[in-house]
Amino acid sequence: MKQNPIIRIIVKLLVPFIVLFALYVQLHGDLGPGGGFQAGVIMAGVVVIYSLIFGSTAAEKLISFSIIRSLIPIGVLIYVGVGLFSLIKGNNYLDYSALHAEAAVGQHMGIFVVELAVFVTVFATMTAIFYAFVERQRQNEEDPE
């Protein structure tokens, strides 16, 4: 399957669209269905498809394991950070009204940031788990016991 040029070209063509779709789901989450989690999963799907067709080495060139790994905590850190920020501002924990003079706008901003945080962690985690599985297999093949 990996050698089939048709599949390779189709996937190459598809990838930008899936990325676009993921971004749409992410940014459109407050108007229609979707949000950080779904977008993160779809985005991780891009890496999975890419890795299935072009091999995990190619996928790691696209986005390396170490970057993915350091992204995992960053998402949650953003989330916790938003909460702490509102705490410092004198509001309750995770009260996004603190983010802007007008409470509702602050809420909207807060939701956007938080969805982004979810996206980062979900995308990074799912990709990392997939990489870990693939990596394990490669090690097993190199080092059969």
Partner: protein
Amino acid sequence: MIVTVGGMILQRNLVAVVILGSVYSFLAATVLVVLDAVDVAMTEAAVGAGLSTVLILAALNLIKSHQSRSTRSVILPLVITLIVGCVIAWGTIGLPRFGDPETPMQQHVSPYYLANALRETKVPNVVTAVLASYRGYDTLGETTVIFTAGIGVLMLLSRRRRIKPLNNESE
């Protein structure tokens, strides 16, 4: 859905089970759309039919994918399952009628979200508003769960030093 799950129980080839599981998830997602839960349907389709399937297949790649014939007694588990099922069925008899707008769960709390979410958060998708703001702390917890799982998998599967898994565990 029932047929699919039945197939999953009987099938011994694990790859087939996974594919059936994926079909099941898609069916579930369709039902969820009918029930107006579009966000959940989308997630179920992405996760159940997509991600879980990929993960299980990736894992099966590492493991032999055929199940051996079970020799275990099935009577006790069957009895337990039936008891659990009957208790739930008994419990649902008292539940409000399907689609009734007058039930407690439609009258309490959730009308507040529907009435105020747009004004208070400027987000028309009430599910998103509740998820990220009103119950934002749940979502923080959820993200933490993902984080935990991610780190956990990496810890379990990372391998730098060579260890021999059999007999030689104690370094």
